[in-house]
Symmetry: C2
DNA sequence: TCCATTATGTGCGTTATACGAACAAATATC
DNA sequence: GATATTTGTTCGTATAACGCACATAATGGA
């Protein structure tokens, strides 16, 4: 691609949208400028453009995003066959297991939820399509990383901020690489409260009909109810059934 | 806003993202140009920019969106208190009712789902946060329209493509305005298979602590299981409880 | 209350982008 | 297989965005 084929105004605007987030639901021009490291004048133009198009509201001081921005994410969810095809299988899986089931893909150092079937939510984390978790400490992240060439997985770990969310979180890159090898061998990953105390999960990779790993699915359960050691015995057969079924329908 | 404070390159790019959708998961440059009514050269630059930033893939012929675009929609979902605050109440509601429960807001002529708690999915429609339905024939759309000044509601109806999804769909603007008045009076809306045969739903408005309508919540059920005439008797008390609880926590 | 600090809005020269047409390449049509 | 037709790409030029600098307004302490 030639350099002249890059629309920097567009790229800057997208950066501005992403500046909004959990801890910053409303932004002033100056705040957005700091977060995006763009010039204030530029950010101001982007924000006013967003407001003009109806993607943002402006009260003269703060900008907030409007539900219209969901159109952008929805463009992916409805345009991509993967989430749509996986959803019914996830529903079945979740019902049979009596626990929440999710599907995700890898994006950089994070897993992105693309579909979810939730039973009553007991956990503090609120996950929905578009939610992100660090790959290194999530069950689906582990199987997705394990599906990559070692060098690539290593590179992602190196770029990850390996912090201990709980006392049980594995944060040593070498230990994690070792774990990835185990995951690759056994074909599934179990997480024992590495992300949040009280939460266990088990994930398997999902392949398309050509055998390429295109996503991961998992089941999450409260540790108090299902100890990590029991996860595989309880849910692995269900997960494997779902995986097999999906492999036949995913092109 | 001065005209010079509008970044047209940004606006064009957003338009290009929205060109992707259910029936068009992959687009060529020419297709995207037609859909957006932009110059081919301009669209090409936008698409190449998206690809460069990782929001799209390009195989030399087709562009497809990547999960990274979910970041944009997620910026809204996680930035806005409304979906996060409503979700747990929706979960409770769904569990008590034994049916799917959803929350939505109005965006133009459509309702946008901002949260959803689904029981086993029996319907053909697959709804998730970001999903859109025409307001005129959806239960949440009716209560949201009913909450607007008459002239505004009328203007939205006039801009809507009032098509009969089923033989039961109300499509006459005057009849719809009459229905909105009834909805406003009784405080809820029931839809009897106007969107899809076999699907009934009931919705109530949700107000914040200052009494402003900020969203709608609904319960959907298969008509075979719960006839429209029974919806109110079965679910209205639950919906009203939820509404009352939400009113206290939404600022 | 005043002053220091920080945020917002505007004008302008420089730089980069969009436009439209023209060309090249690939498809479709007969 | 030759001719239309559509699609992708390139290029020069008019134009619009950028970012700096300055002016103005809002905020927060002493």
């Amino acid at each position: 691609m030639r350099e002249s084929d890059f629309v920097s105004g567009f790229a800057r605007g997208l950066k501005v949208i992403e500046a909004f987030g959990e801890t910053r639901p409303k932004l002033t021009i100056a705040e957005a400028a700091k977060l995006t490291e763009l010039d204030r004048a530029t950010v101001r133009r982007c924000l006013l453009t967003l407001a003009d198009l109806g993607y943002a509201d402006y009260d003269g001081k703060f900008f907030t995003l409007t539900p219209k921005v969901l159109r952008l994410g929805h463009a992916y969810l409805s345009a991509t066959p993967l989430p749509l095809m996986i959803q019914p299988y996830l529903d079945q899986l979740s019902e049979k297991a009596g626990q929440s089931a999710s599907a995700s893909v890898l994006d950089g150092t994070e897993v992105v939820y693309i579909a979810r079937a939730s039973q009553k939510r007991v956990m503090s984390i609120n996950l929905s399509p578009g939610s992100r978790l660090p790959a290194y400490c999530a069950s689906m992240g582990r199987v997705l990383l394990a599906a990559l060439p070692e060098a690539e997985a290593r590179s992602i770990l190196d770029r990850s901020e390996l912090k201990a969310n709980t006392p049980l979180t594995k944060t040593d890159p070498n230990a994690l690489m070792e774990e990835l090898r185990r995951v690759r061998d056994q074909g599934y990953a179990v997480i024992d409260q590495e992300l949040e105390l009280g939460l266990c999960s088990i994930a398997v990779p999902v392949e398309n009909d050509r055998g390429r790993v295109v996503a991961a699915i998992n089941i999450g359960a409260p540790a108090a109810h299902v100890p990590a050691a029991e996860m595989a015995a309880r849910y692995l057969p269900l997960l494997k059934d779902t995986r097999k079924a999906l492999r036949l329908v995913l092109r």
